[in-house]
């Protein structure tokens, strides 16, 4: 019993990864990924997300000193805050767009 569940779980993980890869391929192939990126970038700018995050980054750099901070440090420090600050409306709109895109793609 235990083993079959594990096997199913492993199976599903592989399938998920395959699905993710083929969705990604479709998004890139059709140019939709670029358009989504642009949409996201614009929405984040107009919602003030970019400015807020930038201020936060400046703060981290100032605290640690420019010479002592790597991009990885910065990413590690601001990622939680960055995720949290994305407005729900922006998430919803993007999700909606991605769903609509996938619905159009019959061969995934």
């Amino acid at each position: 019993m235990q083993t079959t569940i594990m096997a199913d779980y492993g199976d599903r993980k592989i399938k998920d990864a395959q699905m993710r890869a083929s969705i990604n391929q479709k998004l890139v192939e059709t140019g939709e990924k670029e358009r989504l990126k642009e949409l996201l970038r614009n929405k984040l700018i107009e919602s003030g997300w970019r400015d807020e995050l930038k201020a936060h980054c400046k703060e981290v750099v100032r605290r640690k000193g420019l010479e002592h901070v790597t991009v990885d440090d910065l990413v590690a420090e601001i990622t939680p805050k960055g995720r949290e600050l994305v407005p729900d409306e922006v998430k919803r709109e993007l999700l909606h767009r991605i769903r609509a895109f996938l619905a159009q793609q019959s061969n995934i």
Partner: protein, 538 residues
């Protein structure tokens, strides 16, 4: 973090130049050809673990893709001494020995160029975003003006009382509403008006508005005396001159008209709005009103679309409403029904049967009470089909005969800022009176039900809201309300304005006091200003 490269980047450029970097940018980061897009789509996973979403990097020296999160690109670099890798999402260069991303001005330049090509290729309507970089002139300006003002959430910058110059509260409240119109504020504070004629600057209302905006947002809190503005409006809109009390709505429309005329030089026939002008006023305030006249004989529909700056809404019972539209530059065709067609006082639907057989037996009796109680009621009435009467036969463009017809107004295109004028003043040859009924209006307004696409499709069905589409594009937020107090003869105007996201203030000439949303929504609104919540790029 180094902003001036590293020895590894310098060594790489010396032996191989920048070409490998450009190729990777063009092939795998910012593609601008069908071929490259296909290649990128195929190549998009780690050569070691096959995953595609773990911060994929491309080796700058050989053909290898590895992910960053799992350390596969770093492993490759260490085992091959291929020091540099390009982030395939952002195009930045990672130096493995240095353990960080490295900025090199030549590489930056290249990736920017390729990014631009990419966004052109994908037919993006927007120029790819690039952050503001100060020009030499701007750096000089900043140096010469070292004082910085930070606008925090509790800042009162932008709030200033206005002196009443003798019955000029009608102007003061409009100035308050305009200075709190977000898009207009952004336009004026970023100094976007470039005056056509150097010599006529003193005579230009747009220049004067620029000064008023600067006064408002200077941080000075003492009252402002808008005498220059008043003088200019008087010279350019003569019908408003004189010290007697004027109508705030009339002043608003006149001010927009003068501003629009003084924008000349920036006006062009290329504007997307129905007024075909791309001046800032038309970009913000112009919407398109569709009028569908349906011939009762052949059911043919003649459609016209007219630009509007505001929507004037009747408040009286529809059967006795007899007011003439105000002489405004853009006349909103106000429905002037002879009869009420709608026997349904809830106003939720207009049944097609009563409309289409045009039988007067189905008309409401004269004086039937269907006075609106909310902005929604007003808008529903404004956009419902009206029987034009048997005496008003119109030549049908389909059957070419003079026929009885019905007319329906709907919103073809929505303005960025919607101004609703509740017609509280009734002027007729017989009487002048003020309607003081409370009309409720919402904080957030959805205009979808009044759109041509929606209303026309549903106007003839029995379920007007059944296939309602909720798009965020038609959502509006309230940001200013002008109120009229007292009677026609001895009245006074005040205005509520919104600061930041959710703070309200009452402007009563020189006096500014904090208010609550509740105060605003309970007030006897005369002019209601809403702005779109989401702006689309043009």
């Amino acid at each position: 973090m180094s902003l001036s490269g590293c020895p590894h980047v310098a060594a790489f450029k010396k032996s191989k130049g920048t070409k490998p970097f450009r190729i990777i940018q063009a092939f795998f980061v910012s593609c601008s050809s069908v071929e490259n897009v296909k290649r990128k789509a195929r190549a998009g996973s780690c050569h070691v673990c096959q995953q595609c979403n773990q911060r994929l990097h491309a080796c700058l020296t050989c053909v290898f893709f590895g992910c960053y999160t799992m350390g596969h690109i770093q492993d490759h670099a260490r085992s091959t001494k291929h020091n540099l890798a390009v982030d395939m999402t952002h195009g930045t260069v990672f130096c493995v020995p240095c353990g960080d991303y490295v900025y090199d001005s030549e590489f930056e330049q290249i990736s920017q160029e390729e990014r631009l090509n990419c966004s052109k290729f994908h037919g993006s309507s927007v120029q790819g975003f690039s952050a503001w970089e100060a020009t030499g002139y701007e750096i000089e300006l900043l140096r010469r003006n070292p004082t910085r003002k930070k606008v925090s959430g509790s800042s009162t910058i932008g709030l200033r009382g206005l002196i009443n110059l003798g019955n000029t509260c009608f102007m003061n409240c409009i100035v308050q509403a305009l200075t709190h119109t977000p898009l207009l504020r952004d336009f004026f504070l970023s100094d976007k008006h470039h005056c056509e004629n150097e010599r006529s600057r003193d005579n230009c209302l747009v220049c004067e508005m620029t000064r008023v905006f600067q006064e408002f947002y200077s941080g000075i809190r003492s009252v402002h005396i808008p005498y220059r503005l008043l003088h200019l409006v008087w010279t350019h809109a003569r019908h408003l001159a004189g010290y007697e009390q004027q109508d705030a709505h009339e002043f608003f429309i006149a001010a927009l008209d003068v501003l629009h005329r003084h924008c000349k030089g920036h006006n062009g026939a290329s504007g997307n709005n129905p007024n075909h002008c791309n001046c800032i006023i038309d970009q913000i305030f112009t919407g398109g009103l569709q009028s569908d006249v349906t011939c009762q004989a052949c059911k043919g529909i003649s459609t016209t679309v007219d630009p509007f700056w505001d929507i004037s809404l009747d408040l009286g019972p529809s059967s006795s409403s007899n007011s003439a539209p105000l002489p405004v530059p853009i006349i909103v065709p106000t429905p002037l029904p002879d009869f009420s067609l709608d026997s349904n006082s809830s106003g939720s639907s207009t049944s097609s049967s009563s409309l289409h057989n045009g039988d007067s037996g189905l008309m409401s009796p004269p004086g039937f009470d269907d006075v609106p109680h909310s902005l929604d009621d007003c808008l529903r009435r404004f956009t419902r089909p009206e029987y034009l009467g048997s005496s008003a036969k119109i030549k049908c463009s389909v059957c070419q005969n003079y026929q009885e017809s019905t007319k329906q107004l709907t919103m073809k295109t929505l303005p960025l800022v919607a101004c609703f004028h509740l017609k509280r003043f009734e002027h007729s040859s017989r009487f002048r009176k003020k309607i003081s009924t409370f009309i409720s209006f919402p904080h957030e307004l959805d205009m979808t039900p009044y759109m041509s696409t929606h209303r026309r499709a549903n106007g003839l069905s029995h379920h007007p809201r059944s296939n309602r589409t909720t798009t965020s594009d038609n959502q509006y937020s309230l940001f200013a309300v002008v109120n009229h107090h007292g009677s026609l003869e001895a009245g006074h105007y005040t205005c509520y304005v919104r600061q930041h996201q959710d703070q309200w203030f009452k402007c009563d000439d020189a006096l500014i006091t904090k208010a609550s949303v509740h105060d605003v929504l309970q007030s006897e609104g005369y002019l209601l200003f809403y702005h779109k919540r989401i702006l689309e790029y043009e």
